[in-house]
Each structure stands twice: as C-alpha cells, then as structure tokens.
C-alpha cells in the first residue's frame, strides 16, 4: 500500500543489477527467432477470422451481385458508401458528418446513462444484497422490470422528460441497471461469513466495510453485471435514437432508410458491431485487471 519498503538492503539490488548485466552478455537470439513467435501468434489469431470474413463476403457478393437485387453487394457498398468508410470524421452540415462523430455522440449518451446505472446499480445492489428483507421484497420487482424491453420505456420517459436526449439516456439507464443491480446483490449476498467476521472483529464502519470488503469481494459479480449492462446499453441506444432523432448512429440508420441509402446502413451496422465489441472488451479488460486475485483463494 502507501509505504515504500524501506528496509530493502542495497546488496540484493546490486546483485540484481549484476545479474542483468550478465543477462545482456548472453548471445542475443537472432532477429528471425524473436519475430517468429509474434508472427505465429498473428497467424493463429488473425487468420481464422480473416478467412471467415472473406468467405462470408464472398457468399454475400455472389448472392446479391445481380441486377434487381434487394440488398447491395459488398462491392456496391464499397463504391457507394466510400466516403463514410474512408472519412469517419468529416463534418459538412448538421446532418452530414462522418460516422465517427455519430458514434461518439451515441457513446456520450451511453456513457452518461451507463455511468448512472453503474453507480446506482452498485449502491442499490449492495443495500439489497445486505438485507434479506429488501431482497425478498425487491427481487421479484426487479425480475419483472428487467424483462421490459428497452424501447417500451421510451414513451414513458418521453412523457416524463419532454425532451429526446434525456429520454434516450434514461432508456440506457433503465436498460443497463438491472443486470448490474442484480449481480451486485448476488455478489454481496455471497460474501463469505468469514470476511464479515473479520470486518466485525476489526470494527470496520459501514463505509470501510463497503469499500474494503464488499466492493472487492463482490467485484467479479459486479463486473459480470457491468459487462451485460454495457452490451444491453449499446443495443438500446441504437433503437432509442431511431425514435428520438438527433445526431446519433441510430438516427443515422433511420434517416438512411428513409432516403433509401442501404449501403450507408450496411456501413453503420459494421460500425455499431465494432464499437459494441470494443465496449465489451474494454469492460472485460478492466474486470480482469481489477479482480485479479479476488477469485483465487
């Protein structure tokens, strides 16, 4: 924690330095030897998906590369929507801008809604998980509410907020909060009695208990909830934006549909997929960082 180890004798440190020097004198492996494992890793990890994508594109191309096809073939998408693919960040007007900007706008909404959902979800989940009676009373309610589809919340939130942007954010919030809340509650409930006993013997107060025992002990559960939550949030934002309008990627798709720009829609779908994938990986990455050692016992 805070204190640096002050009793580190200099002798082993010097030894370590010596060892490092010896290390350097050893015959350095040839360039080919060092590059090889990297290449192998690239080969085994990138080649299979690349082949899969190539095959899928090929099938798509064959299926729709004919006059009168209802959907554009990949080559058509490439040529007709090239500006969208090549320039994610151009701005040429209030509704004419790169998909990068639109994605960022959507991400902003997701960040606010998901941020609130994370905070409220963890806090309420902690309370619910701590109290048997809160669990009994609230769990059925949560279980019912969480099955309500995101878009079903939209009219209600439009009625409440009378504005598109907060309504979209609210839909994100209400969509993402349930898995976070429920997983946190389960995580808190599963905190071993041993840890509670330790906290009691040490007389940790509520805040210390929350920060030092509850959060770390329930972290794997909390992150499971966050990961499901961010996925749902990203699903919901696209749908919500289709209805609320504005600048987001969801409205872009709706707009493109209304003006029959199908190739644009295809590009937007790829964007959405990639961003959703990145979000999921980000939360997973943070989770493995934060919960390292928590599960090991």
């Amino acid at each position: 924690m805070g204190m640096p180890a002050r009793k580190l004798e200099p002798v082993p440190a010097a030894k370590a330095a010596g060892a490092a020097v010896v290390e350097l004198k050893r015959a350095t492996p040839g360039f080919a030897d060092r590059v090889k494992p990297v290449l192998t890793a690239l080969w085994t990890n990138l080649l299979p998906p690349a082949v899969t994508i190539a095959i899928l594109l090929g099938i798509w191309q064959i299926a729709f590369d004919r006059p009168g096809a209802t959907l554009p073939a990949p080559t058509v998408v490439w040529s007709q929507a090239f500006d969208l693919i090549a320039e994610p960040f151009y701005v040429a007007g209030s509704q004419d801008m790169g998909l990068g900007w639109r994605v960022l706008t959507s991400l902003q909404r997701v960040a606010v809604g998901f941020g609130f959902a994370a905070i409220v979800g963890v806090l309420v989940g902690a309370i619910v998980g701590q109290s048997v009676w809160a669990m009994r009373g609230l769990d059925p309610v949560f279980q019912i509410l969480r099955t309500v589809p995101p878009l079903a919340w939209l009219p209600i939130s439009l009625a409440a907020f009378r504005d598109a942007n907060p309504s979209a954010i609210f839909v994100i919030f209400i969509t993402a909060i349930w898995p976070i809340l429920i997983n946190t509650a389960v995580g808190i409930r599963n905190i071993p009695q041993d840890y509670r006993n330790v906290a009691q013997v040490l007389r940790l107060n509520h805040l210390e208990f929350f920060v030092k025992i509850m959060l770390p002990a329930a972290a794997p559960y909390i992150f499971t909830g966050l990961r499901i939550g961010i996925g749902l949030a990203w699903l919901a934002i696209v749908a919500a934006e289709m209805l609320t309008g504005g600048v987001g990627i969801g409205f872009f798709i709706w707009d493109a549909w209304n003006s029959s720009r199908i190739p644009d829609i295809v590009v937007a779908l790829v964007y959405i997929g990639l961003v959703g994938f990145a979000l999921d990986r980000m939360v997973a990455f943070v989770a493995t960082r934060v919960t390292r050692g928590t599960a090991a016992n």
């Binding site: 924690m1 009691q200 013997v201 040490l202 007389r203 972290a219 599960a295």
Partner: protein
Amino acid sequence: MNAYLKLDRIDKSFKRGGTTSEVLRDVNLEIAQGEFVSIIGHSGCGKSTLLNIVAGLADTTKGVVFLDGTAVEEPGPDRAVVFQNHSLLPWLTVYDNVRLAVDKVFGRAKSKAERHDWTLQQLELVHMGHAKDKRPGEISGGMKQRVGIARALAMQPKVLLMDEPFGALDALTRAHLQDSVMEIHARLGNTVLMVTHDVDEAVLLSDRIVMMTNGPAATIGEVLDVQLARPRKRLDLVNNQTYLSARAAVLEFLYARHKAPSIAA
C-alpha cells in the same frame, strides 16, 4: 485466581422456526492473564459457539462474558480471532491483510511509519516477512495460517481466540506452527483461548485443558491442569510421565466417559 477472562453462567440455544436447540448450558470458566487454555470436545458439542460468544460474534441466551472487568457485547480487536480457515482477504497482499488490522486498531495511536514497522514486525514474528508481497492465493495453507496469527497478534489483543487454528494442516506443518505459537506465547505472554480436537496439541500447548461434555446442552465436564514446565520441547515430552498421564486423562474423558454420540450408540 483473579479472572482476566470470565465466562459467567453461559447458556446458548438456537431458535429455528418453532424448535429451540439448546447447545450450551451453564458454562463457567475463569482464565488468568497470560494463561493458555484449550477447549476440547467432540464435534458439534459447541466449542466454536463458545468461542464465538467470547469473540462477540454470537450472543448468549443467558450469562455474561467479562474481559478485564467489562462485559463483552460486540466483537472487537481486544479479542482477536484466528479463524479455522485463515479468512485472509484474497485481494490483499499478506502485508496489506495485516496492515488493514494495524491501521484500524492503531490508526490514531501510531504514525504511518510506526504502523509500517509494526506490520513488518508481526510478519517477522510468524516468519512470514519474506512473503509479505504475496497474495493469499500464492502461499501454502500453513503460511496463510501464520499470516492469520500475525494479523490477530498485530491487534495486541487482550485475549487471542483460536478456533482449530491448525485443523486443516498436515501433521508436520501443524507441529511447526505449534512450536511457533509456543514461542510467541513465551515471548509475549498473551492470554490465549484455543479450540482444538487434537489431544496432543492441547496437552503440549496448554496450561489448562477444558473438556466439554457432548451436546445437546453441553457444558464443561472437567478442567485439567497441565503441570509441565515451559519451555516445552516436543521431543523431550515423548516419555515424560506428566505429559503421558495428562494425555491419558484427556483421552479417557473423551473416549471412555464421554464418547462421541455416534460411537456411543
């Protein structure tokens, strides 16, 4: 004897649904400062329950525990517990596990540097200084138990409570830790209350052995004084007459007069 820790007419029953099960009845015990007392008895007789009552983790149905003149009402660092399954926090390093206790107990009394030194000192006491930056998942069961002991000692408790601290360890590791505990007890003179079901461990470590009758409504059947001089050496005791007769007395109590319920039937 002036009682430092006093268990005064302790009754304990658990109510579940409509049924009440009486676990302890009329347990009386007085322990002097610096004394090492073991509680031994068959599984399920209520040893852990009794220890938890002293710790304040469980409350009594009737009766009071007094420590140093005041009644025990809730858990606290003056009655540090070494739990059977170490109960280290897996997300903290060995150092931080002990430091958490040190910060909580001495947060005001000691400066940051003093708390750091105190933490290291406790780890050295149980010979765990070398592993201070490891996490509990990376050390052996015996080492975890050592850290658990260091954490408890770090609180400078008035009584050290241990619930089968070495129960989950192999015989060699257990012997090592018993020696460590004897050494620490000799050095610091702690008052210790330990639950065990190992007869040799009880005789080797204790000044007195409290033998409990079988439940339900278990109570103290007999208290045996172990009149062996300290420091005690495991090897010297192999043929020691006092040791052997103390051992025989406990065995006789447990297996002749108060057989385990399943054996008795």
